[in-house]
Symmetry: C2
Subunit: 152 residues, 2 copies
DNA sequence: TTTCTTTCTAACAATCGTTGCAGTTTGAGG
DNA sequence: CCTCAAACTGCAACGATTGTTAGAAAGAAA
């Protein structure tokens, strides 16, 4: 089990990448890049929207989805489907895992390699495995406390 | 890494469980139990509906969702959210993991314990972990072949 | 700077999976 | 058989996401 560090691309880097792809640099996009950069809690499209809207009230939710999808398909952000209702976007590109609160939906990064987790060819049945995701599910301290209080 | 076997409850067992809970045994429920019992491919509510409808054309999709939710909250089936668009239900109660085709959505069981996958208290941050899910993502043989054919 | 081409945005409608609701039906105990 | 709480059906509503498109804006070229 080895420990690593997070790696999030800066707005400037993302801007440069978009430029290289021949995509235009709009204030909407730059604003989204900025919001992603200092959001470490796996925001939903809606929550990115809410934050961007504070400095750009006219932006549309559609544009946020569009840009997040673009970034995801360029491989510049990750997208997590954890059964919390909506997709969560992850600007942290380092391969890592997640700890999820099933009660409130909080998502925390786990920076660790589990070298043991590899499938023997026998179990692969011809599959080509591109990624291995580990999700630890449970209850965060806040939700545990709240539950205890309710049971008292 | 230890290997195990699948464990799926029979229609009779589920019927008995419902009876114990004071829930009524309706033909709709029994039919759904049967369909689940011999469905090893993690069906969606819609696909359970389609199958049940063959022998009971008047059943409503609403009832299928209702019964699947009941079973899931009784802990008698699992529910997977894998980002394939809709929830997948899993009658196999043994703790196990999954191999998912990101192209066609196929889901295959992986019966193996990865004993290495345990979080040191230091990383838990006070979380109470109830379950650890491992998802291997990639491409199934069919989809790989189809992709190769397209690239030729 | 002005023009021209291309891409993007905003607004709105539509879709998909799922759940809420209301009225009707039915399983199961008496 | 009755009774009646519980379950069923059909449909409306909902939240998340995507399709469409006319007009706006960015960037390149002149
Ligand atoms: Mn993460
Ligand atoms: Mn399974
Ligand atoms: Zn929580
Ligand atoms: Zn496939």
């Amino acid at each position: 089990m080895t420990v690593r560090l997070p790696a999030v691309k800066s707005p400037a880097e993302l801007t440069e990448l978009f430029r290289q792809e021949g995509l235009k640099i709009t204030p909407q996009r730059v604003s989204i890049f900025r919001v992603l950069h200092d959001n470490l809690d796996h925001p939903t499209a809606e929550s990115v929207y809410d934050t961007v809207r504070q400095e750009m009230p006219s932006i549309s939710l559609r544009t946020v989805y569009q840009t997040l999808n673009d970034l995801a398909s360029m491989g510049e952000i990750g997208q997590l489907d954890l059964g919390t209702g909506s997709a969560r976007f992850d600007p942290n590109l380092d391969s890592h895992h997640h700890l999820v609160c099933d009660t409130c939906g909080k998502v925390i990064d786990i920076y660790a390699d589990f070298d043991d987790v590899r499938l023997p060819r026998r179990q692969l049945q011809g599959f080509r495995v591109a990624a291995t995701e580990i999700v630890f599910r449970g209850q965060c301290p806040d939700c545990s406390a709240r539950a205890d209080r309710a049971t008292r």
